[in-house]
Symmetry: C2
Subunit: 122 residues, 2 copies
Amino acid sequence: MDRLFHALADATRRDILRRCVRSGLSVSRLAEAYPMSFAAVQKHVTVLERAGLITKRRRGRERLVHTDPGAVDRARQALGELETAWRARVDRMSGLLADDPGPDPGPEAGSGDKETTEGQDR
Amino acid sequence: MDRLFHALADATRRDILRRCVRSGLSVSRLAEAYPMSFAAVQKHVTVLERAGLITKRRRGRERLVHTDPGAVDRARQALGELETAWRARVDRMSGLLADDPGPDPGPEAGSGDKETTEGQDR
DNA sequence: TCCATCTACAACCATTTGGTTGTAAGTTAA
DNA sequence: TTAACTTACAACCAAATGGTTGTAGATGGA
């Protein structure tokens, strides 16, 4: 998770992700797009790879970079958990203001508001 | 955007966000929860504040930290933009295979959640 | 074969990061 | 006022980051 968000915390790397969502690009082609050395771009690609955000497929002497949508979705879900907790708080407040009989199959319904506050993030 | 994701790229900071979603906590209370100095936790709070992920309200001599759900949502939307581009690509491929009677409706039933897919960095 | 291209990786450097300790200032309670 | 508590911030340090250059291994084409 650290690696995932760290990889996203750089404009160049986010741009690489955008360029490689639709079709794979070789590292050389990518490097042409940025005002830095080939090796620098290669390092960015390595960071993205170790974060699981991209994979490389070889084609001839090139390595085609393409982003892994699954990893992007994983990051979104992590943020979604935070939002869910916030929404639950708002819902409680709403509940106090309205006798809402609405059928609310909440995410972790049941065990009230168990203070999860334990061990960082899995 | 850099600051936003950078702030999220640390387990301690993500934990602070979780703890402060439901109710504000003073920096001192937060600091008790981690195996590091008060000043270190204070620095983490500063990083989160500069990223717009939390705000501080003063109560007496304390400063209550509480997370800003809007900022979390902003990060999700940025990731949603990436996913949308990927989904468009999958949709094109689906179009090519549309004649296939395969019993595979695909995991992403297209018109799922409309993400705003708009302005982020740049 | 020889050459150009693409990639990988090491060594190096400046800056940032995450942590520490110490000092000072504002606020509440006695 | 004095003492305790909470916060802010500076100075310092080791390690990581983001960039550079240089060298070397594969691969494809003339």
